[in-house]
């Protein structure tokens, strides 16, 4: 999952980046509203966390421009301005959720998780469920038939992405775009290694290779 964090307060951004990275999200960080308008549209983010008090361009204006340009990425607004009048304005501008400062980091993680599931049509349950697997995002492990299987951080990221996109063909480059932030070197070989690790832990049939197209997760054995 690749997120865009737009927040101009550097210490808060550092904290949020660290927390979100621990949760297995690849995060790009921007501090200026004008940059955010451009980058939010040009990069394939899965979710955007947007602060409203931004230099350059106000957050609401950024959001309005994104929505006007047809950007459908879920946006979570982060703001200290938490009156109901302002919340309604945020919603009208096209926000999907609203978190007022200050907040507990876990609150943000839960909201991000819920919003990602919601945007992929998944119910908000304690665990993420797909193809008979139950993924516990808090503890970063997966359960199958009551048996708990431990995952590395990289495997967890990959599996979560697959489980949010079941039965879809995902190319290597698509996966790389959504699993790594803009500054990480993208090496498709590393991806293959992680896919193989997942297959070893969860069974070969879980991830199917479509030659020339990419991977497909959770396809019912035909």
């Amino acid at each position: 999952m690749r997120l865009l964090l737009v927040e101009d307060h550097v210490p808060l951004a550092d904290e949020l980046m660290a927390g979100l990275n621990r949760q297995g999200y690849a995060v790009d960080w921007l501090a200026d509203g004008r940059d955010a308008v451009y980058q939010g549209r040009s990069e394939p983010y899965d979710l955007i966390i947007l602060d409203l008090g931004l230099p350059g361009l106000p957050g609401l204006e950024v959001l309005t421009q994104w929505r006007a340009a047809g950007l459908a990425t879920p946006v979570l607004i982060l703001t200290a301005r938490d009156s109901w009048a302002e919340r309604i304005e945020g919603l009208k501008a096209g926000a999907d959720d609203y978190l007022s400062k200050p907040f507990h980091p876990e609150e943000l993680h839960l909201r991000v998780q819920a919003l990602l599931r919601r945007s992929h049509g998944q119910a908000n349950q304690p665990t993420l469920q797909a193809a008979g697997l139950h993924l516990d995002e808090g503890r970063q492990c997966v359960m199958r038939d009551g048996e708990e299987i431990q995952l590395t951080a990289a495997e967890f990221r990959l599996l979560r992405y697959f489980m949010l996109h079941p039965e879809q063909i995902l190319s290597k480059s698509h996966l790389a775009e959504h699993l790594y932030d803009g500054e990480t070197e993208r090496d498709s070989n590393v991806l293959e290694v992680h896919v193989n690790h997942l297959r070893r832990k969860l069974g070969r049939s879980v991830i199917e290779t479509r030659r020339g197209q990419g991977y497909r997760f959770g396809a019912s054995p035909a």
Binding site: E15, G19, W84, L91, Y98
Partner: protein, 438 residues
């Protein structure tokens, strides 16, 4: 407060009465003076005729009867004379048995009573020298008829004057009312302002009212502007304080402090207290309260957005609905009302199982807002406790109440009443009665 209309009427009446009386009295007096002077010349004529009629006869000085006016012969005819010599005096026959007193010196005198009919006489005494002796001739004329017509004239004048006064008063009332119509309009507009049906007064007013209306408009704009500015400043302050607070909260629960659980707990508790206090005070400072709203709160326009926002925040599939008479408008500040309803509904959403209903309606005393949910509710014994004086709702750590502090503040500022009841849906029913603005 005295009405301008009444003050103008009183002033006008007193001025008219005083001026009218002085004018009438003066003109009557001048008229009477003129009449007397006219009668005096007639009397002087008569007196000279009498002097001419005095002739030297066989028995000394005698009156030539032929030359006398017949009016001197007829009793109480209204024309009399008396001629005084050194030792004797003659009277005209018309005096009959009455005595015409001699004036102490030559000249004119009015208001002399005479005779059984109470005639008012005007007497002129003139002194002459004739035939070597001094002769004093007094002639008198009855001017009662003149006085009678005078009185009649005065009465007619009085009636006419009164009628004129009434007419003037009536016209003045009409004029004043017409002149004061802009004031009345301004008063109505101020009432509408209070009701929130308009945000500015009309500037199409007479010159005299212009500064007043301009000043009121200026004040209104200023109030709205300063409210906006202070809200903005509070927003900035909140932003400036809450962002570092978010950093601290994040640090307090971070990995680095995992080895010091007590320190982490202490930090978090203290930060939460700061956060709660900050939220509460900032929210309270944002309230417009009694300030006149710039515009009415339009239920049909605002509620769908609010409910959609609540639905977004509470992703569980809650059934939020509202029952509001179409076109209902509430005369309070939009942001305050959104804050009130938002917090009430947010609280209900936290506790409801599936259904939340908001109803807004008009009552004879004002407006009634009701929020009901189908959650667990609050047992009756604890409801009083929740609202007892001194207990702050947001200091309650569990149950209904979190976030309701601001609701209480708003209702207090508006002079409303907040009641907790049991809902037919099974949960809590919060009833807020807000009095109409005056």
């Amino acid at each position: 407060m005295k009405s301008i209309q009444r003050r103008l009427s009183l002033g006008l009446i007193s001025v008219m009465v005083i001026v009218g009386l002085v004018l009438a009295q003066t003109s009557l007096w001048l008229f009477e003076m003129g009449l007397q002077r006219y009668l005096e010349s007639g009397l002087r004529n008569d007196s000279e005729n009498l002097l001419v009629a005095l002739v030297r006869g066989p028995m000394g000085v005698q009156l030539d009867e032929q030359r006398l006016s017949p009016a001197y012969q007829r009793p109480f005819s209204g024309h009399y004379f008396r001629i005084d010599f050194a030792d004797t005096h003659w009277r005209s026959r018309s005096l009959w048995d009455q005595e015409l007193p001699q004036l102490p010196q030559a000249g004119l005198k009015g208001n002399l009573q005479l005779g059984p009919e109470g005639q008012q006489l005007l007497v002129l005494r003139s002194d002459y020298k004739r035939f070597g002796q001094s002769i004093s001739i007094s002639v008198a004329q009855d001017y009662t008829p003149v006085r009678e017509s005078f009185r009649l004239m005065r009465q007619i004048g009085l009636v006419l004057g009164l009628a004129a006064l009434l007419l003037i008063l009536l016209l003045q009332r009409v004029t004043v009312r017409r002149a004061l119509r802009p004031l009345e309009t301004a008063r109505n507009q101020i009432a509408q302002l209070q009701q929130g049906q308009r945000s500015q007064l009309d500037t199409q007013v007479p010159v005299e009212l212009e500064p007043l209306v301009a000043q009121i408009n200026h004040l209104l704009a200023h109030t709205e502007d300063s409210l906006k500015r202070s809200r903005n400043a509070l927003g900035n302050l909140g932003h400036a304080l809450k962002t570092p607070l978010a950093v601290l909260l994040s640090v307090a629960s971070s990995e680095q402090l995992k080895d010091h659980p007590q320190l982490s707990k202490l930090l978090r508790e203290q930060l939460e207290q700061v956060q709660q206090r900050l939220n509460r005070e900032l929210n309270r400072a944002r309230l417009a309260g009694e300030t006149l709203p710039g515009a009415l709160f339009d239920c049909d326009g605002e509620l769908p957005g609010l409910l959609a926002t609540l639905n977004m925040i509470h992703v569980e599939h809650l059934d939020l609905s509202y029952r509001v008479p179409p076109g209902l408008q509430l005369p309070w500040d939009r942001e305050d009302l959104l804050e009130l309803l938002g917090n009430l509904l947010d609280n209900a959403c936290k506790w409801a199982d599936a259904e939340i209903v908001l109803s807004v309606g008009e009552t004879p005393e004002g407006f009634r807002l009701v929020v009901e949910d189908d959650g667990p509710g609050i047992p009756e014994s604890q409801r009083d406790q929740v609202f007892s004086r001194g207990t702050r709702l947001d200091e309650q750590t569990d149950g209904h109440g979190l976030g309701l502090g601001i609701v209480r503040d708003i209702v207090d500022v508006w002079g409303g009443v907040l009641l907790l009841q049991e809902s037919e849906l099974g949960g809590l029913k919060v009833v807020i009665d807000l009095p109409r603005r005056h």
